[in-house]
Structure formats: C-alpha cells, structure tokens
C-alpha cells in the first residue's frame, strides 16, 4: 500500500465533543499519529453519551464515541497532577501539530498554549478552535454546539412561513469547522516544510459557521432584507421540496427548468399537467406554488419514494429518497464507496466508523485502528513516543487519572 500523506506527522490532540475530534480524525485517517489526551475525571461528552453496546453505560462502550474517533491513540493524563502535566508537556515537545478546542485560556493556565510550547518546540503548529475565537469579550464563554447554531443564524433560516423558526438538526458549526481547520493545518504543515516556520491558527466556530450563511448575510448588508422561514421553497426551482410518499415516507424533488417540469409530468403519467398554463412556466409555477406542491404531493403519495426517485432520475429530474438512518446504512451508493468501515473494537468488538468523504487516487484515507478505549495507550505513548521509564513511568501509570 502507498504511503499516506501524513505518515510520520505527530499530532497532540487536546480536543473533545465533535468539532476538534473531527479535525484530528481526518489527520489520523490520512496517516498522522494522533495522541488524544483524555481524562478519567472529565471524559469527553461523547464517552458518556449513548448509544451504548448492550445498553451498558461506560466510556469504552459507546458506539457514538467510537463512530467519531477511529485511528487515534488515547493517553489518559491527569493535568492537575505534576506527572500528568509533565507528560503533556513532553507530548507538546514531541508533536508537530497541536489541536485544541477547549475554552480559551485553559491551556495557557497549564503552560500548554502556543507561546509556552514554542519556547521548547519553536516550529510547532497549533490550531485552536473555540466557539467564538481566542480574543474578544465573549472568547472565554463556554459554548455548546446547539447554542452556536442559534448564535450563527442557522435557526433563522430554518422554518415554515408564518411559524416560529425551527432547529436544524445537530451542532452544525461542529461539522463546518474542519472545512477550514484541516486545510489551514495542511497549509501550515507545507509552509513549515518549505520555511521551517511554525504558526498558531485561531479558528472561531462562529466565524466558520457564518461562511455557510454568507449569501443570506449579504442579502441583509446589501439589500437590507432578511428572509428566514421559507420552508423548502427555492428562488430558482419549483416544484422544490419534499413530497409525501407511501408509508409515511418522503421524496425530495427539485425542478429547475420548464423542460424538467415536462419530464416530471410525463414520467409520473400526468401529461395533462405539463401543458396546463398555470404551471408550464417557471413564473407560473412560483405564483401557484402552494397548489403545485399539493398537486405533486397527490401524485407522489401513491408510490414509494424509491419509485419516485428512480422514475424521475431516469427522466432527468433531480429527486432523492429522504433517507432515515436505516436507509443510509443500507444505501447502495454508500456501500459501493465503502463509506462505513467495520472496525474490531477491543471492548465492543463489531463497531462502525465513517470513512473520509473523498477518495484520493494515490493515497486514499485508511481506517486502520478502531477508536481507543479511554487511556488504552497511556503506557504505549509514554514508553514508545516519549521514552519514559523507571520511577516516572510508574508514577504516571499509577496515577489515578
């Protein structure tokens, strides 16, 4: 097998929950050696969140944590004790890259911030990603993912006309942050290779999230307009939305041109509607959108979403099943592209992780190891990576971390 791009690159991982761990997962999937520092006293939120294998609660028994953390080493260090802190500092000197998503200031208190680490490891690359960045009056406020979703404006752009905004699912910013964080780390690594220079990168998850709403923000700064709850309608397509199908399921359909509209009518055997002047042009379909959606819904509800998708795709119309988690696990496309990896976890045995969403022709990402048990590699990391031995090693391993 070919060498992975990041083989030999050493990453010290001070992250938790999702945004930070996703960044280090990506680095690990492309070959980096990632040591995640964890704590028995304060385990990651995902370590204590379900689902748990056989419903037995425990940090090494959560398939949620395991899904997001393959390929990493876990070192359990109690940073409140001298030996734990000394070991963390040694790891900081060992590392090429440090990633942290703790509340700003926390690592500085421990002497593990960029300025401190740089004294002994001058070309270190450090990416710090917190909710609102490392500076500014709100920097020190602890944030959780869903709160950032509200603060960024995602909720404003989600909902139905005349009703309250609704919450899009999940901590959206957490999934956006790696889009900027990983490219920045890789650019920094390349820069270091060329110049020998390290750097510190400050990535605010709020600022990252706003990039994904930029057209809506510009509509306000330019046109003084704020359009929030528009349901599934689109300014460029009609019909556009999800339509009811048999068995209380749904199919998404998006029609961008008059030709596509004709194709849809023909494919669903409603040729009479294709020539109906109410709907034959895009402005007409937009003007009569409620009626249009109702009509299309009456056509789709008699079929399965799979039938609608396949029939419309064959006719050149964009359509897709609204898949639930079971459908996703059985999705033939995701299977064909090996999206999910079966990993053999030391405690849970069979365990699923997701692979990287891109395939590189020469150096595709690989999931080589399952997600670690909490502290599984403390001794390995101390002896193999840091050459610790004797009394210090005994002290570290006997410490209740």
């Amino acid at each position: 097998m070919s060498k992975l791009p990041l083989e030999g690159v050493k990453v010290l991982d001070f992250t938790w929950v999702i945004a930070g761990p996703l960044i280090t997962k990506c680095l690990a999937d492309y070959g980096a050696t990632v040591v995640r520092v964890e704590s028995m006293a304060r385990p990651c939120f995902l370590r204590v969140s379900g689902p748990f294998k056989d419903r037995v609660v425990g940090p090494d028994n959560t398939t949620y944590f395991a899904y997001f953390n393959p390929n990493k080493y876990s070192a359990s260090l109690n940073l409140k004790k001298p030996v734990g802190l000394r070991t963390a500092r040694k790891l900081a000197d060992w590392a090429d890259i440090i990633v942290d998503n703790y509340v700003p200031g926390k690592l500085a208190k421990l002497g593990l911030d960029y300025e401190s680490v740089k004294k002994t490891n001058p070309d270190i690359i450090m990416l710090s990603t917190s909710g609102q960045g490392q500076s500014g009056p709100m920097a020190g406020i602890p944030m959780t993912g869903m709160i950032l979703v509200a603060l960024t404006g995602f909720m404003f752009f989600s909902g139905w006309p005349g009703e309250e905004s609704t919450q899009p699912f999940g901590p959206v910013n957490d999934f956006i942050t790696p889009s900027f964080g990983v490219p920045a780390i890789l650019a920094a690594l390349r820069h270091r290779k060329l110049t020998g220079e390290g750097q510190s990168i400050d990535l605010s998850q709020l600022e990252a999230g706003i990039q994904f709403l930029a057209p809506g923000i510009l509509d306000y700064t330019v046109n003084d307009r704020q359009i929030g709850n528009v349901g599934n309608s689109s300014p460029d397509a009609a019909p556009h939305g999800v339509y009811p199908c048999a068995d209380n399921r749904w199919c998404a359909i998006a029609v961008f041109s008059d030709n596509e509209w004709k194709s849809l009518c023909t494919a669903l055997e409603h040729t009479e509607a294709a020539d109906d002047p109410l709907f034959s042009t895009f402005p007409g379909r937009k003007r009569n959108e409620d009626e249009l959606n109702k009509m299309v819904g009456q056509w789709t509800i008699r079929h399965t979403p799979e039938y609608i998708m396949l029939t419309l795709q064959r006719a050149g119309v964009q359509a897709g099943v609204v898949k639930n988690s079971r459908d996703v696990c059985e999705d033939p496309q995701l299977k064909a592209r090996n999206h999910f990896w079966n990993m053999n976890h030391p405690v849970m045995e069979d365990c699923i992780c997701f692979g990287e969403p891109s395939i590189l022709s020469e150096t595709p990402a690989r999931l080589l190891r399952p997600s670690p048990c909490l502290g599984e590699h403390t001794e390995f990391v101390a002896t193999e990576f840091l050459n610790m031995s004797g009394q210090e090693l005994i002290e570290l391993l006997s410490d209740e971390s």
């Binding site: 379900g50 899904y67 994904f212």
Partner: protein
C-alpha cells in the same frame, strides 16, 4: 509576510456547487483563477442580487464565494479552448471541477490527459455521489443530497415535512471536504513529486452531520426522527427542550449535567431560579443529573420553572445574566443581530470591500482562518466576467492582441 499558499495556482472550473473550495484556497493565498464560460457562469443567475437587479455581475452568491479569485472566460468544450486549457494546466498546480460525473472525460480532459501535460497536477472533482457506484449519474441539487445523506430526515418539526436550511448547505460541506482532500494531495506532492485525482462525494460529506443517528440505529435499532425545538437521542425516548420563548423572541438553552454541568452548565441556573423564587423540588436533580435516567414527565417538571424564568426577560438580558452566572443561554440570532454582534466587531471579522463598478462598498463576512504566519490580508472582490483575460492570455500565455480578439469573436473566450 507572504501568504501560506503563495505560488500555488488553481484553475477553478466549478459552478455554485464548488465555489467555496477555491475560495478557501484563495483565502490562504493561492492564485485561484475562476474559469467561466464566455458570457459568464450560469451560476451567476441564481439566488439574490445586489439591489435585486437581475444581472450576472450583481449576483450575491457569486460575490460571497468567489472572493480573492481572478476570473477568465474560456469555452473548454471548443478545440481552441481545449488547447488553451492544456497550456494553462502546464502552469498550474490544481484543477477543481463540479461538472456531472463523466462530463470532463467527454471533453477529453480526463485526469490522465492533464497528468500527461503536467505530472504534478492535482485534479479535484466535486459531484453529488462521486465518480463510482450505482448513483454516480444521479442528478442532485442541495435538497436531494441532504435527503440522500440521512440529514434532511432529521430536520424540522414532527408536524411538518422535513425542512432544509434555506441557504443551500450540502455542497458547501462538499467544498470543505474538497479543500481538505486537495490540500492533502498538495502536501503529499511535496514529498512524492506527483499529483493525484481527488473524487469528492457531497452525499458522503454530510452523512456524519446526522451525529449519532447511525450508531443509534446500529446499536439500539432506533430510528431517530426530527424533533424541531427539542433535542432527542440523549436519553431513552426523551425530548429535551432546546429552543425557549422569552420576552422578545427565542433563546437556546439545553440542560446539561454531570461532567458538562460546570462547562455549559446548569448549576448556575439552580441558584438563579431560587433567587427568583421559582424553584421547585427538581432543583436538586439539576445539580448532579444523569440524562439517561429521566422520564419525560420528570424532565418536563424540571423544565417548567425555567419556562417561567425565561419569559420574564429579553434575549439580551438572558444572554448577559447567563454569562455572568456561567449558564449558556443564547439568543436566536437574525442576520441583523449576527452583523451587530459585538464579539464579531471586536475581532474585526467584517470587511468592507469596494465594488467600483457599483460605486459602493459591501460589508462581507471576513476570513475565519487567522494565522500568525499569514497577513490578515484584505479580501478582494469576486472577479467580473473575463476580468483577467488579458493578464492571463497575454501576460502569461503570451497570446497576441489579435489572437485574443479572434478568440473573443469566436466566443472561445
């Protein structure tokens, strides 16, 4: 100080499904040349416009995601265009494209062809489902990709159909993944000397946004459903309120206990409720709770006093007081509130970019990548149609003015 990607040239053939990838590289200093069809990219016609003037030079989506790029026009489907494009390939490092799978091959611009011209070239393709597999040729806009990834199923209220975020998101995630994978290939090239082909699937880019829905299905056989203002999937069948009404709008707040209580915590809330005289017996369970052990009824009893508390105050009052007490209560922001949020102002996030052609300056979200090794650099506005044709075709490829005029007349550029 130079930018991180100085000297890296990117040819950006994408439409709106791929703009952001090049913008991320451009923000870090790469010379990204947006290659449009003569007359302009069709994606200049979708979404909103500057002052609602329906003009491809005034498209807000184009403005937002093509900052810092240069722009040329070129019909790569023509013979002359093909030849010129291959000349550009010799002087470039990266090509990004978002045509339907197979189209670039039909044009005779497969990766093999590009690599023969330049063994160091990296080519990144962004498609709905990737270059392989049974759905390879399916067409899919944002809402279709969101549906097929399992994400849309989870968005919205139980009483309505699933609802997307109305600013298209799926391809932005794909662009982020494309930027990651492209940078990975670029870094690899530093040691191997060779380029490679990068195949990005938008569907795969957002499957993980379903958080723990896949583990829940595989572990418990439970299918997570959309739950609107409520958080589900934390405790068994538990619906935990996340969006709460207050005096002048809505705030976001989630009870978290145990190890997270001190971080995003609910412990400060207990004292607050007590001071306001609206505490209940459930306060003790708030201090040290295990979400997996609550029944819905108990949960709602715990929520009841909080509903009362929040209705007494405005969004801003709750945010300020919460911050003092280390309780994470956050306003649900509108775009106006985002733009006026003091934290972003304090960090100098917003940037005014002058558009001479419009006789105006526009306020943009600035860069979110802030590095000590990179100047905080001024962002440049997105290119006009063919704005850099002369710079590139004459200045870099050495085409004569006559030749450029001829190509223009033939609508090749």
């Amino acid at each position: 100080m130079n930018s991180l990607l100085d000297g890296i040239r990117v040819l950006d053939l994408t439409d709106d499904r791929g703009f952001l990838c090049g913008r991320i590289l451009a923000e870090m200093g790469a010379d990204v040349i947006k290659v449009e069809k003569p007359g302009g990219d069709p994606a200049r016609n979708i979404g909103s416009f500057y002052h609602d003037e329906n003009d491809p030079e005034k498209n807000l989506n184009w403005f937002a995601y093509n900052l810092n790029k240069r722009g040329i026009t070129l019909d790569i489907a023509s013979n002359d265009g093909w030849t010129i494009f291959l000349k550009l390939i010799k002087k470039s490092d990266i090509v990004i494209e978002s045509f339907p799978a197979g189209y670039i091959q039909q044009l005779g611009l497969d990766y093999v062809v590009l690599k023969a011209m330049n063994p160091r070239i990296i080519m990144t393709s962004i498609t709905p489902f990737g270059q392989t597999g049974p759905y390879r040729d399916f067409a899919a806009s944002d809402i279709v990709v969101q549906a097929m990834s399992g994400y849309l199923h989870l968005c919205g209220d139980p009483g309505h159909p699933p609802v997307r975020i109305s600013i298209p998101q799926a391809y932005l995630h794909a662009c982020g993944e494309a930027a990651i994978a492209t940078m990975m290939a670029l870094y690899h090239r530093e040691s191997s000397g060779e380029g490679q082909y990068v195949d990005v699937s938008a569907q795969q880019s957002i499957v993980r946004n379903t958080v723990n829905a896949v583990p829940l299905w595989l572990t418990y056989g439970e299918i997570l459903e959309r739950s609107g203002a409520f958080r589900v999937g934390l405790g068994k069948n538990l619906r935990a309120r996340q969006t709460w009404a207050c005096k002048d709008g809505f705030v976001n707040f989630l009870f978290v206990g145990g190890i997270l209580a001190s971080v995003a915590g609910s412990s400060g809330l207990t004292d607050w409720l007590e001071e306001e005289g609206i505490s209940t017996d459930y306060k003790n369970r708030l201090k040290d709770f295990d979400i997996s052990k609550f029944t819905q009824e108990e949960w709602e009893q715990m929520e009841a006093p909080v509903v009362k508390l929040f209705m007494k105050y405005t969004k801003q009052e709750l945010f300020d007081e919460g911050n003092k007490r280390r309780v994470s209560i956050c306003p649900v922001h509108s775009p106006e509130e985002v733009v006026n949020y003091p934290q972003l102002e304090a960090r100098g996030f917003w940037t005014e970019i002058r558009h001479e052609e419009l006789g105006a300056a526009i306020k943009y979200p600035g860069s979110c990548i802030r590095s000590t090794a990179m100047p905080a650099g001024q962002l440049r506005r997105a290119p006009l149609i063919g704005e850099h044709n002369v710079d590139v075709y004459h200045g870099e490829l050495g085409l004569s003015e006559d030749e450029i005029a001829r190509l223009k007349q033939l609508k090749i550029i």
